[in-house]
Each structure stands twice: as structure tokens, then as C-alpha cells.
Amino acid sequence: MRRNNVVVTGNEAGPVVLLAHGFGCDQNLWSRIVPDLAERCRVVLFDHTGCGRSDLVAWSPERYRTLDGYADDVLAICRALDLRDVALVGHSVSAMIAVLAANEEPDRFARLVLLTPSPCYVDDGDYRGGFSRDDIDELLVALESNYLGWSAAMAPVIVDNPDRPELADELKNSFCRTDPAIARVFARATFLSDNREDLRKVSVPTLVIQCAVDAIAPPEVGRYTHEQIAGSELVTLDATGHCPQLSAPEITARAILEFVDSR
């Protein structure tokens, strides 16, 4: 629990919504939709090992070289809190982490919400993920060069976080910052994984949420994900970018809540 800086909030009597953040930031990325969700749901937030305020000592390149290590962490959190009938919401790379966790222990999950997912970022034959290997290498260079600038660029002014004022000072140093070695391994695991086969094994009721314009996970990829998961639903938000929980929090929260309630 300490490893992943688990935070539980919201309505204790409501259904459990477990929010898994994507590559690049930490659980703060959910801050704009947590209030809406927390009214009706028991909301569980955490930082992936190596991100945010997780226990960096627990990180190892062997365990977190693939998405399986992250999926194991999700299941460990569910076990530690004895979470059942979980609605697991995975953003970006965590959509595939959620798929892996749900395929491992399908009975634990009542709903899967895949927010701007991509099962495979690199083009392969007829499949268009949107990127080439060279593009991924270019991202790694961008990560690396911003490491030098991070003292200034990534030690930002703190977002107002009235629910957790005690975090303000610490956030200065951890907020969306990642050790460059960890970021590199996570970036590789994120952008070089191919989870297309895993989509077909999903048996938990699934909602795919995508944005109308998203450079990281374009609509074709969201549609592909939806088509590969039998019985899944697809919602396309009138939003731009890869993080609708920030750019369009109301409609994102509504889509999640409607699906969680549709039992």
C-alpha cells in the first residue's frame, strides 16, 4: 500500500472505482474528476511504482520492464484493500495494464473503463498504431533532454489541492516528476508493448472512451480496441488531447459514472 501511495476517498457505500494513471504523471491527473466520482463511488487512487509518491526503492527495471509488473501491483492493491466488484479505470497505458489485471483475475472486476487506450503504439502490417520505432526513440531523447532541464521545468508551481493541503510542499518535488532511468523503462514498456491479443481475452464488461482528436491514441485505435473486445461499448468525447479527465472533466466523469451505474 505504501509502495503505491494508495489513497481512498469518496462514498464508502458506493461502488468501488479504482483509477490507474498513465505514463507521464501520477494520480494527480485524476484530480478534476475525483469530486464528481466521489459523490457516489468509493474512489481508490494510487501511483504506479516509480511514479509520483510511490516507494522508489520498490522499483526495479526487471519487474517494471513489462506491463505485467504494473498489473500485478493493481491486483496487489485490490487484495490488500479486499476490493470486489471493482470498476477499474485505466488511462492511456494503464488501459492495457487494466486489461492484463482483469484477464488475470476477471472475478474481481465488475467493469473496465479504458480511457484513451492503445493496445499497440507501433505500426505493424495493416495495423496502424500511429508510430514507428524511430518515433519512440525520439520520445526517449525528449525525455532525456528534459531531464537536464527538469530542475526548472518540472519543479512547477503547485496546483491548488484543497483536499490534501499537506501534500503541497512535497508535491513541489514529486509532482509528475520521474527519475529519468525509471521514465525510460516506463516509456519503453508503454510504447513498445503489443497487447492486441490480450483484448480478445477480456470477459469483463468494458467501456472504451476516446477523444475526437488525440495524437497519442487516435480514434481509429480506440475503435480497434472496441471492436476487439466482445460486447464492449465505445464513447467518443468531444474533446482534444490525450487527457480528457483534464481537458473535459465533466463529460469524462459522466461517461464513467453512467457505465458504472449501468448494472
Partner: protein
């Protein structure tokens, strides 16, 4: 020099805001919240080689970045900007109309309307070609430093291994175990131990610490280890072995060391250990009944200090279930807050381990070293002997 007259000076200052925006020495671009370019200055257009009409209202700003840069933008830059309203000094690359790359530094702020709602993103773009070239030099230098550090650590590891036995031999009737805890990956420490057959059932062993670190200390450590072994073959009487070592060490460059030399011989009801030392830390004797004591050998002098140094000897009887731990002062000198760990604290922490075996003692002290963490500033060597408790049929692990 004559100061400019007032009229000319005023004319110089009459720089329209428009002109200042368009021809500023940096790029300016304003976008809608979804990234669509709403306004862009002439400086940035000329850097990129685009026409204003091609971009305004048609292109999203992240689409002007390289693909990898766009991924970084969408996964790091955009979320941070949305959450905190500003972000500065991010290094990315833009693509110009002819396909070349332009390294830039981006700083953005979100412009809010009167009601506090976000309206626009304003971004300044600085040409960072020189900085990028410099950074690449830095990165190369860092990578080279990392490679060299790895090489130094590899060398230190290899050298350290030559100073320690690869594995302890099996001793009939006595369980033995050892552990070496390096305080630094870059430096060879001066601690050492060994265990080897003497005659018949008797085995010789030693554990010690050469003052200092690094290559000089390693040379003396190596000399000490081989001198002790050959001296023991010549005359295994413990005091003689130390006198022989002292003679050899005092002949070389002045260098001090503390050594515990001993022999162990299994007997019908346990084992007899004969010890000799010059100034080494007192071993901890753990009795089968849970008692623990330090075996003091007072009066010995450091090896290497005087040509005719005095050493002292003692005999310890190990009964079944007893164990004896030798250690170097890296352990007992470890920092604990403002204080130092101590021989007495070690004795007290090991009390109650009974019935202890050599392996369980080493495991317990290894855990202790991990708990002391960065407080352990010096290398630590550990060697333990034990006699099986009654009833045990095989070595207890």
C-alpha cells in the same frame, strides 16, 4: 560619445507593440485550448519557413513538433499546463517546412478570462540550437563518466574478490560462515578473512583490517593474507604467525593493521579455538543457553606499529550450540544517529539468538548491517564458527 538627442531617442522608443510582437527576438504563438494556432509572430514563421495562412486556424501547435516531441507534449507538457496554468523551459524540437529540426525551449501560460475560465495558451519559443549542442556534450560526458565508473567498480570488485576466498571449505565438526559487506562500490576496502587446513583436524583462520582504502591498502591486504597463510604453514602457533606478519609489514611502507588469527580443532565434546591478536575487536561468544559475551584479549599491539610488537593469546572452548563471531570495526563503528554502534551493542543484539549456528549468526549480522544502512561507512568482514547443538544431524541453515 555624444548622447542621442531627445528627438532621435524618442523615435527609437516609438516601437509599436505590434512590431515588438512580430519581430521579437523569440517566437510567440497563441493557441486555443485544443492547441489550434490562433496567432503566431513573424519571427517564429521565419524560423519554421511557414506562411501565416497555412497555420492560423488550421494547424495544432503540437503538430509542428517532431513525433517524439509531440508524444512528450501530450503526455507531459499538456497535462502539466492544464493543471498548473504555466510551464517553463521545456526542451523540444520543432519541424520546419523543409523538414529540418529546430531545437527549442518552450514556456507557456494559460490566459484566463474575467470569469476565471481558461481561454488561450500563450507560448514563447526560444531557439535552443546552441543549448542543445551543449547539452549533447554534457550527456556524452555523463555517459562516458558512467561507463568509467562501471569499469572502476568492476575493477574494484575483481580486486576485492582476489583478497577473499571464493568459498569457505567444509570443516568436520564445526560450522563456518563468512560475509563481506563493502561500504563502497568504487573502493577496495582493507578488510580480509580466510580459513584453511593446517594439520590433521586443525584449521587456521584469520580476519583483519588494514588501515586505509583503495589500491595502497589492497596491496598490503594481499601481502597480509599471503604472509599469514605461509607463516601458518611454517609454524602454526598463533603468536608466531602474528610475529612473522609483523616483521614483514614493518619492513614495508608504514601501514597498520589489526588481525585476529586463530586455529580451531574439533574435540569429542565441541571444539577448541586458540586465538591471538594485535589490537583487534573482541569476538562475540554466544553460548547455547542464550548468554553472550565479548572475548577480550587486552594488551596486544597493532601489527605494523613496532618491530617487536607484543601480541596476546587466549583459548575458547566451544560446546555444542555455542558460536563465535569475528568482525571488523566497520560494523561497530557504524553511525547510529549522532552516536556509534558498539561492541557492547552488538553483543546485546545477538543475545538470545541461541541456539546459534555460524549461518544464523552471519544472517542476523547481515540484516543488522542492512538496518544500519548508510551508517556503515567502512567495509565489514564477518567470520563465524559454531558447534552443532546436540541432536542436530546436519548443519542447520
Amino acid at each position: 560619445m555624444k548622447p542621442p538627442d531627445d528627438v532621435a531617442f524618442a523615435a527609437l522608443l516609438e516601437d509599436s507593440a505590434e512590431d515588438l510582437y512580430d519581430n521579437a527576438p523569440c517566437g510567440y504563438v497563441s493557441t486555443l485550448l485544443d492547441g489550434t494556432i490562433a496567432k503566431i509572430n513573424a519571427t517564429l514563421l521565419s524560423w519554421l519557413g511557414h506562411d501565416r495562412d497555412d497555420l492560423v486556424g488550421r494547424t495544432r501547435f503540437p503538430d509542428l513538433l517532431t513525433v517524439g516531441g509531440r508524444m512528450y507534449y501530450e503526455t507531459h507538457f499538456a497535462p502539466l499546463l492544464q493543471m498548473q496554468g504555466e510551464l517553463g523551459g521545456v526542451a523540444l524540437e520543432m519541424r520546419t517546412a523543409d523538414g529540418t529540426r529546430l531545437p527549442v525551449l518552450l514556456t507557456s501560460t494559460v490566459k484566463h478570462g474575467a470569469g476565471g475560465d481558461a481561454q488561450l495558451i500563450r507560448t514563447t519559443v526560444f531557439d535552443a540550437r546552441d543549448r542543445r549542442a551543449y547539452e549533447e556534450e554534457l550527456l556524452r560526458a555523463r555517459e562516458q563518466a558512467e561507463r568509467e565508473r562501471d569499469r572502476a567498480q568492476q575493477l574494484a570488485r575483481t580486486l576485492q574478490q582476489t583478497l577473499l576466498p571464493p568459498a569457505l571449505p567444509e570443516v568436520r565438526g564445526v560450522e563456518v560462515a563468512a560475509y563481506y559487506h563493502p561500504a563502497s562500490l568504487d573502493q577496495v576496502g582493507g578488510d580480509f578473512y580466510d580459513l584453511f587446513p593446517l594439520t590433521g583436524d586443525t584449521w587456521g583462520f584469520f580476519l583483519g583490517d588494514v588501515s586505509g582504502k583503495g589500491v595502497d591498502a589492497a596491496v598490503v591486504t594481499s601481502l597480509t593474507r599471503y604472509t599469514l597463510r605461509s607463516a601458518a604453514v611454517n609454524d602454526p602457533e598463533p603468536i608466531s604467525v602474528l610475529v612473522h606478519l609483523n616483521t614483514v609489514i614493518t619492513q614495508g611502507k608504514p601501514r597498520l593493521c589489526t588481525v585476529m588469527y586463530g586455529s580451531v580443532r574439533p574435540t569429542a565434546d565441541g571444539a577448541t579455538v586458540t586465538l591471538a591478536t594485535g589490537g583487534h575487536t573482541p569476538p562475540v561468544l554466544l553460548r547455547a543457553d542464550g548468554g553472550a559475551e565479548l572475548v577480550h584479549l587486552p594488551g596486544g599491539q597493532l601489527v605494523g606499529l613496532l618491530p617487536d610488537a607484543r601480541f596476546v593469546t587466549a583459548e575458547v572452548r566451544l560446546a555444542p550450540g555455542d558460536a563465535l563471531l569475528f568482525y571488523t570495526d566497520g560494523l561497530t563503528e557504524a553511525r547510529v544517529g549522532d552516536d556509534r554502534y558498539s561492541e557492547e551493542a552488538l553483543r546485546d543484539d545477538l543475545r538470545g539468538l541461541a541456539p546459534a549456528t555460524a549461518k544464523s549468526v552471519i544472517a542476523a549480522v547481515t540484516r543488522l548491517l542492512n538496518d544500519l544502512g548508510n551508517g556503515v561507512e567502512d567495509d565489514t568482514a564477518l567470520l563465524a564458527l559454531s558447534v552443532q547443538p546436540p541432536g542436530a544431524t546436519s548443519p542447520v541453515s
